[in-house]
């Protein structure tokens, strides 16, 4: 008997099904169109560029799931990856 398998909880295919469903439903429910993400992107850019110079071509925004630190349940998350070129002077105090 595979002892390791016995304690490995997410070996079940139903857990895989549930995880995949949860992820796909975030997108379905949020109805996040590419335009919607573009809008967020544009506004983020305008706010952040007041303080730092950023690499616009490297900017990436997506909707995903992440584990909550407190109880490990997964929650939807908006992840933005914004490469900084250099800080602007008015950002320093």
């Amino acid at each position: 008997m595979d002892l390791f398998k016995m304690f490995n909880k997410s070996d079940n295919s139903k857990d895989i099904a549930k995880e995949r469903l949860k992820l796909v439903l975030i997108h379905d429910r949020a109805n996040v169109s590419p335009q919607f993400l573009e809008m967020i992107k544009g506004e983020l850019l305008s706010v952040i560029s007041d303080y730092m110079e950023i690499d616009e071509s490297g900017l990436e925004i997506k909707l995903t799931r992440t584990k909550r630190d407190t109880d490990n349940t997964s929650v939807p998350a908006l992840v933005a990856n914004i490469p900084i070129k250099k800080m602007k002077d008015n950002g320093k105090f």
Binding site: M6, K14, A17, K18
Partner: protein, 267 residues
Amino acid sequence: MGEVIVITSGKGGVGKTTTTANIGTGLSLEGKSTVLVDADIGLRNLDVVMGLENRIVYDLVDVVDGVCRLRQALIKDKRYSNLYLLPAAQTKDKNAVSPQQMQQLTAELAKEFDYVIVDCPAGIEQGFKNAIAGANKAIVVTTPEVSAVRDADRIIGLLEANGLKNPQLIINRLRIDMVKRGDMMNIDDMIDILAIELIGVVPDDEHIVVSTNRGEPAVSNDESIAGRAYRNVVKRILGEDVPFMDLDTEQGFITKLAKMFGFAKKR
């Protein structure tokens, strides 16, 4: 004034028509006057599932077009008291009827019957809009598969957006053996995802195929576990507080013992 309940799912082939037939027959067995409305225009099937296909003269589109009176299109099921079917048209398409016309039609039927059960076509287009137009309650049917649950979630959103708040859920074709070995989502998994009230769990049952072959709804068959599950659904519709079936009864003594000592066999 009767209640108009739409049976819907989004995905096809999850058991909407079977559920409509069984709930309707079950309501009539409980003494409620009931009419089944097949809203799947162009792909009618409720008539064959009910075993009434040879008695169709007029259909839903004929009524809407004024070719016949509503009464003339209703087929009485002679096996049960106060059970009628309004068949869909087979040769027309879904655009032959508008949501307004469906609303009028179901309102007319609700004056005469305790329950009007509408069998909704698959999809989210015109046929769906027609089927839900006159409903004041919705039951969503799903099976424990990712595709069916995803579509159910979409349908729940659309129902709520169209003013049908608090739809209820039927989980159909649950395989207890597969749930036990962790290869099928269980009831809690699905409630967790869809977050709506559960009104029934129908186990996968060969009797359904046999009863559909014969055109006799399984709800009238005491030997069918699915039939018993549908009878419970009917009682819940009527407001009775019926506990959900204990689907774990087949679990053997050895498995229980093994579980007790914490080394349940993993298959």
